[in-house]
């Protein structure tokens, strides 16, 4: 047994030099790019005109929806790319806000009866809460988190939810620190309202939402003593960014903070511009913003300065470039090669600017481009936890709780807790910068460590176990509907076809013949061959014993398949 240094080991396993330090991967040309797929980059954002088949369609659906069902696939199957995009880029219809499913004889929400929404309550975190009030707030916070998971599970064939989450990651806030669940809802609602709308409008609404004003302490900022928190993050994270070469100054942070003074809440927790604490002096910005002066205004007119501030920030090219890079990392890959920077990021930024930051034209351009469908970019994402868990749940379908809203929220809440174990629960990003997979150079690999990987595997196991994921107040746990999913495949009775169809549906990565054989044999493991098991079940689906046998076989097979690394990819 010889000792081996870790760097030797790393070289052996990765074929890469473990010499440190390298420069930033975001702007680093990877070995991959240099050796492999250079040519497709030159096509950049030109409209994709190659073959339009199952591989390309599945790629589009994997990146734009949280999982897709076989019915979704059939819906899109015969549509050309531009028609697919028409559907995907149409906003989802209106939705019901979160409702009270937590009241009981011990805990009554004074503002919302059972089944009614609590989001319009006049409940604030000014002053000290009684134990009861704190408990109700906690229930509401659970309610909004569960509800968000419900929105994800129930989304239609639109990018609305995917973009809502994108904006949540871009203009991030944590429900825990916002504290008041009503304010959390008011922070989250504009993310969804403008999901496929205009960036500036979304930004204005979110920045002035009671949730964000609380989260970044702007409700404590006054002319006499401006608080820099929101003024800084507005530039550093929400808009301009800190990509290489970007140069707003500390003085710009202060000037923006002074523009923002006065934006706070009233005693009901609704947004209110308080003219008396607004800084009415002129705000002078650095050369980065062309030495722009925002004229100080008194009275209600002071609130008009914010729109001017956002216009100024959005007029610098770095903002459009930064947003383009964020879209790229969300939809394509986490490394941006110099070629992609020139041929994808730059023209995408031009499109954002030309459309006054309406997001749909930029999305249409990116998702319809040669670059997006380049072979190199297909199946190269490690799914984030929401893509993974919600995607599986939607693709297979879960056992049906739709008749009982209390059970629905309980089930959604249990999935939210699982997502939290995997480090990506809506409303709970690690901090105001959002999830690091989208800004640190290690990218999607940051989703995976011993802890989160185990949480994913354990959740798959639970979803495929007889008891399922147990939820409070329910006798049946959450399970993947393996029978229904399998029945919709082209020929479920033939094990070869079943494996071929289901693997092609669930992962973009092809399997070797050995693995295919292994999986096929799993279906017949335990005596009776699969063909017979399925035929007997199909002939008499109501027979408990026959359905149990088929279910057990399928669970065994899907567990093996879904716990494989290939099924973590999109």
């Amino acid at each position: 047994m010889r000792n081996i240094s870790r760097s030797d080991f790393l070289e052996i396993i990765s074929g890469r030099q473990a010499n440190a330090p390298e420069t930033d991967a975001i702007h680093r040309q990877s070995a991959t790019m240099a050796s492999g797929g250079g040519s497709m980059l030159h096509n950049g954002l030109a409209p994709y005109d190659g073959p339009w088949g199952g591989a390309q369609l599945k790629h589009l659906l994997r990146r734009t929806l949280f999982g897709f069902t076989q019915a979704d696939y059939r819906f899109f199957e015969n549509l050309p790319l531009d028609k697919c995009l028409d559907t995907l880029l149409t906003p989802s219809p209106d939705y019901t806000p979160p409702v009270n499913t937590y009241s009981n004889s011990d805990l009554v929400d004074p503002d919302a009866a059972w089944g009614e929404t609590w989001v319009h309550s006049r409940f604030t975190d000014m002053g000290v809460l009684s134990k009861k009030e704190a408990e109700i707030n906690q229930k509401r916070r659970d309610s909004i988190t569960a509800w968000w998971v419900g929105r994800l599970l129930q989304h239609d064939r639109s990018l609305t939810e995917k973009m809502t989450l994108f904006w949540h990651n871009q203009v991030s806030a944590e429900f825990f620190f916002i504290f008041d669940a009503c304010k959390s809802y008011k922070y989250a609602a504009p993310l969804r309202l403008h999901a496929l709308g205009n960036f500036k409008k979304m930004l204005f609404d979110v920045v002035t939402s009671p949730g964000m004003l609380r989260y970044l302490s702007n409700d404590q900022s006054t002319a006499e003593d401006p608080n820099e928190n929101l003024g800084r993050e507005l530039q550093e994270l929400f808009t301009v960014g800190r990509d290489a070469g970007t140069g707003y100054s500390q003085a710009d942070v202060m000037a923006a903070s002074r523009v923002l003074t006065g934006w706070a809440t009233d005693h009901h927790g609704d947004t209110k511009f308080h003219a008396v604490i607004h800084d009415t002096a002129d705000k002078v910005f650095s050369d980065f913003y062309g030495g722009k002066v925002i004229k100080g205004r008194s009275g209600e007119a002071g609130s008009e300065e914010l729109s001017e501030l956002l216009d100024m920030i959005l007029s610098v090219r770095d903002t459009a470039l930064h947003l383009s890079r964020r879209l790229y990392r969300w939809f394509v890959y986490y490394e941006i090669s110099p070629e992609a920077e020139a041929n994808v990021i730059a023209p995408l930024a031009d499109t954002l600017v030309a459309n006054d930051f309406d997001i749909v034209p930029a999305l249409r351009l990116l998702l319809g481009s040669k670059h997006f469908y380049a072979e190199e970019n297909i199946g190269c994402q490690i799914k984030n936890p929401i893509d993974h868990l919600i995607g599986l749940s939607r693709s297979f379908g879960l056992n049906d709780f739709s008749g009982d809203i209390g059970k629905q929220y309980s089930a959604w809440g249990s999935l939210a807790a699982r997502l939290d174990d995997m480090s990506m629960c809506p409303g709970a990003p690690p901090n105001v910068a959002g999830w690091p997979a989208y800004y640190l150079s290690a990218g999607y690999q940051l989703w995976i460590n011993s802890n989160t990987l185990t949480a994913r595997m354990e959740t798959i196991d639970a979803l495929l176990s007889p008891s399922g994921i147990i939820c409070s107040g329910m006798d049946t746990g959450i399970r993947l509907a393996v029978l229904g999913f399998t029945a919709a495949l082209s020929d479920p009775s033939d094990p070869d076809t079943l494996v071929r169809d289901s693997t092609a549906f669930l992962t973009p990565v092809p399997f070797s013949a050995d693995i295919i054989d292994k999986m096929t044999s799993l279906l017949s493991e335990g005596g009776t061959d699969w063909q017979q098991v399925w035929s007997e079940y199909a002939a008499d689906p109501q027979d408990t014993a026959k359905s149990k046998l088929a279910t057990d076989r399928l669970r065994n097979y899907y567990k093996y398949l879904l716990q494989r690394d290939e099924c973590l990819m999109a």
Partner: protein, 420 residues
């Protein structure tokens, strides 16, 4: 970052019943790496250990280690948050420097030379962004971001002959500090009493496409996790805590984490670096109570720190481990000299680093910062000691790391501090 409120347990839902873990009968073959690792060997249980405590959000250094000789000027700069002079915890060897009253329990360690305070730690051209600044501290470089961490690079150059993780983060995600080249240099660990068993796939993508690169990462991380989990399980079972000073579970998040660290070290794990985190130091508002600046969010956090350190050091002593473990605090930056009207403080620059353990010279390193008589809202402290001086001094004199390996962790040279 939001104001500091003590982070509560984020498992807000009723915990789910766990399915019975079933280890699949499908066994592995051809496991790369297995031959490189033998289990249990003689060096185990002798390694020196470094525990890094991140005070997350930017700790107010001026209210942590208080320069009493600057008190008059501090009073004009930050009257609403300044600790009343009479309440400052005094150090036996210095009339000019004191501690926040919440840190009073630590003065006994200080007086016994089991605590070193390094003043004014930072770096040139301080960055006031949380995310850039912690990136600089974690990567060990001010250059535009670097994908690996200083501990990760140190680990990459190490010799590892068993399956114990070289570094552990207590919590659910790994910081950049523990990122090695191409692979994680450690494991993230959130619960040492429950582990799920599964068998990672046997496929190893050999190619160089983006897809194969990510698959290869997944493959190796899965294998790595299995090995680490087996080691940690054994250590968690073998180890225990001896101190009765730990608060009860969920009362003090830092104490909970350090308790796990002590148990794993006691259990014989040969991990050399543990990373833990106390969140909530971004005190833009309500850093102190309006009526009493010695109370409030910051006081609570520092009290958690003091209680946790006291219990941890006591535990290590009772377990006979006190000479093997060095513990260090750090934060992405200190806070502004001038306070704000919200009884808080905005982002600042240099701040003290605290080190705990035996065998040190102890005392104060560096001098008190100088506070001007007139302080503007933008004024910040100059740094005295580069944070990389602290890192490299610990690598050199605590771990006895050869210079070549130190240079791999921190490529540039910084003056060594004589801490031991």
């Amino acid at each position: 970052m939001p104001d500091g409120i003590r982070r509560m347990n984020r498992r807000f839902f009723l915990s789910n019943a766990l399915p019975v873990s079933v280890v699949s009968s499908l066994m592995l073959s051809g496991m790369i790496g297995r031959s490189l690792h033998t289990r249990r060997q003689s060096a185990k249980g002798k390694q020196k250990v470094l525990v890094l405590i991140q005070l997350d959000g930017g700790n107010d250094g001026l209210n942590t280690v208080i320069p009493l000789d600057q008190y008059k000027n501090l009073l004009s700069a930050r009257k609403n948050i300044l600790i009343p002079e009479a309440k400052v915890a005094r150090l036996s060897d210095s009339a000019l420097t004191g501690l926040h009253p919440s840190l009073r329990p630590l003065t006994a360690l200080y007086d016994n030379k089991q605590m070193t305070i390094i003043q004014g730690v930072g770096y040139d051209r301080a960055d006031l962004s949380h995310f850039r600044s912690i990136d600089i501290w974690h990567s060990g470089s001010s250059a535009d971001t670097i994908p690996t961490g200083w501990v990760g690079r140190w680990v990459d150059k190490g010799e590892y002959v068993n399956d114990d993780p070289p570094a552990i983060q207590i919590g659910s995600s790994l910081p950049k500090m523990l990122q090695g080249a191409g692979m994680h240099a450690g494991m993230a660990l959130s619960d040492i009493d429950h582990f799920y068993d599964y068998v990672p796939g046997m496929y190893d993508a050999a190619g160089r496409s983006r897809q194969q690169r990510e698959l290869s990462f997944l493959h190796h991380t899965g294998r790595q996790s299995r090995r680490y989990i087996e080691s940690v399980k054994i250590a968690a079972r073998a180890g225990h805590n001896s101190s009765g000073l730990y608060p009860s579970q969920n009362e003090n998040p830092l104490a909970d984490q350090l308790k796990v660290v002590a148990r794993l070290i006691a259990g014989g794990l040969s991990t050399q670096v543990y990373s833990v985190r106390l969140k909530g130091f971004d005190t833009h508002s309500a850093q102190v109570d309006h009526s009493d600046p010695s109370r409030g969010i910051h006081a609570t956090l520092l009290s958690q720190l003091a209680v946790a350190i006291t219990a941890f050091q006591d535990d290590l002593a009772l377990l006979g481990l006190q000479d093997r473990v060095l513990t260090m605090t750090y934060s992405e930056f200190g806070r502004r000299i001038k306070s704000n009207i919200s009884f808080g403080s905005d982002h600042g620059t240099a701040a003290p680093v605290m080190i705990f353990g035996t065998g040190m010279k102890g005392g104060l390193v560096g001098h008190n910062p100088e506070i001007p008589s007139k302080v503007s809202a933008m004024d910040n402290l100059d740094f005295q000691i580069d944070f990389r001086s602290v890192y490299t001094s610990i690598l050199k004199d605590w771990f006895h790391t050869p210079q070549e390996r130190i240079s791999a962790a921190i490529p540039d040279t910084f003056p060594f501090l004589s801490l031991f």
